[in-house]
Symmetry: D2
């Protein structure tokens, strides 16, 4: 996986739960933040993808939780994308502690490609190229 570091962010109090670490569903929000920055870095922000009438709802998500992260920890996120078959997109994400490099979570999301009416479509060529760039 050829992932570039994309952004750093801090764990919010809102991200924690009574066990003292992070609540697990928050990692999916962080992955989403990573995809947003990945698309921007590739040159076509995801807002632009949507304004061209293409939406990428998630059809599958997988997360592995590694080392603990706590409130105010500085984390670093990287992400990557590739085609998953001819009609779907797969994004890979990795979150590590910014200082130690220790992994916090990694996982993938698989996205369908739909039009503004929610109908499944083949990803247009510009999108395939964007994903593979």
């Amino acid at each position: 996986m050829n992932q570039d570091s994309i952004l750093e962010f801090r764990v919010r109090y809102a991200d924690t739960d009574k066990m003292g670490g992070i609540y697990h569903s928050r990692v999916l929000e962080w992955f989403e933040m990573g995809r947003t920055e990945l698309f921007r870095k590739k040159g076509t922000p995801y807002t632009e993808v949507e304004s061209r009438g293409v939406f990428l709802p998630i059809v599958e998500a997988h997360v592995q939780y590694k080392h603990r992260a706590c409130y105010d920890d500085l984390l670093r996120l990287s992400a990557d994308s590739r085609m998953h078959g001819k009609a779907r997109i797969q994004c890979s994400h990795l979150i590590v502690h910014a200082h130690s490099g220790e992994a916090v979570a990694q996982g993938y999301t698989i996205h369908a490609c739909v039009d503004s009416g929610g109908k499944v479509i083949r990803p247009p060529r510009w999108l395939v190229e964007l994903i593979q760039s």
Copy 2:
């Protein structure tokens, strides 16, 4: 405030934070759940309000936090609505421990009335009557 009890629900692990109680922003989600049930109880679900082209975005929110609530606590919610001036709607909410009746949080939200394009409108008569019923 003439509030009827509307629904009971349990605190999720997701609602907690590292201090061991609930994370404060979750109370606003619970208030929203209370408004949803309030409208249903009044006879016009909020989904129906929206399908008639009227939306009620929040312009102000106020919460007072009382006794602590913890994971899996059973809470009871009540809510009420009235007009706030001629163009806005005010909803009041109260959350208590279902068994002891001890208050967890109370507060209000003030809502503007907009059309599907986001333009501020006067609340239609049927909505005013619904709110005041």
Copy 3:
């Protein structure tokens, strides 16, 4: 998978995103709500598990998203648990539309077993029996 229906709940406005359906990370919160009710139904609430000094942090989560769900939809949740090897617990979850039975999401979570200090432990016998009951 021998899952019993455990609870019904409605999609909150807070659960939606700008695409009009539910934001995907919310499904993990619903799964958690399902596990909470599963443990209660088995006779030992998860609060009781924690007060015995055993915690079950998530080490892996997988979700498949099926049919769309929208604000105020009534959903029904079922869950089941089994041992995953000798030291981990696997919970399976299924969320369907309460009226049509159409699947919204399904997935599993894998949990480690740790003590109050966060140290990985073998699940005590009572827990293994609870999980397999």
Copy 4:
């Protein structure tokens, strides 16, 4: 209000709701992020406050929602703190669009001061000085 700009951040997809803008409770999470950076800027991170045994649970929150914010909008946050009577702390927060300066939300939170057992305490001198610095 003498607020310094503290940090910039982008609206996540997770922050949106079906109306297309942001879901209102998210603003309280952003305020929290602002307080975290405010304490760091003052020289004593909030993690340090807690490791000295002082916790600042919220007893009241107020938010006014101004101009709409949407997915991927770049927002700028400022915050300030002062004593509220002798025993409580008040934080003020303002969120604006980073480019236009247009206000998105503003509001305050009022915090009690408790020890690690949850008992209300008088804010220690170092904390009062920190808050007023």
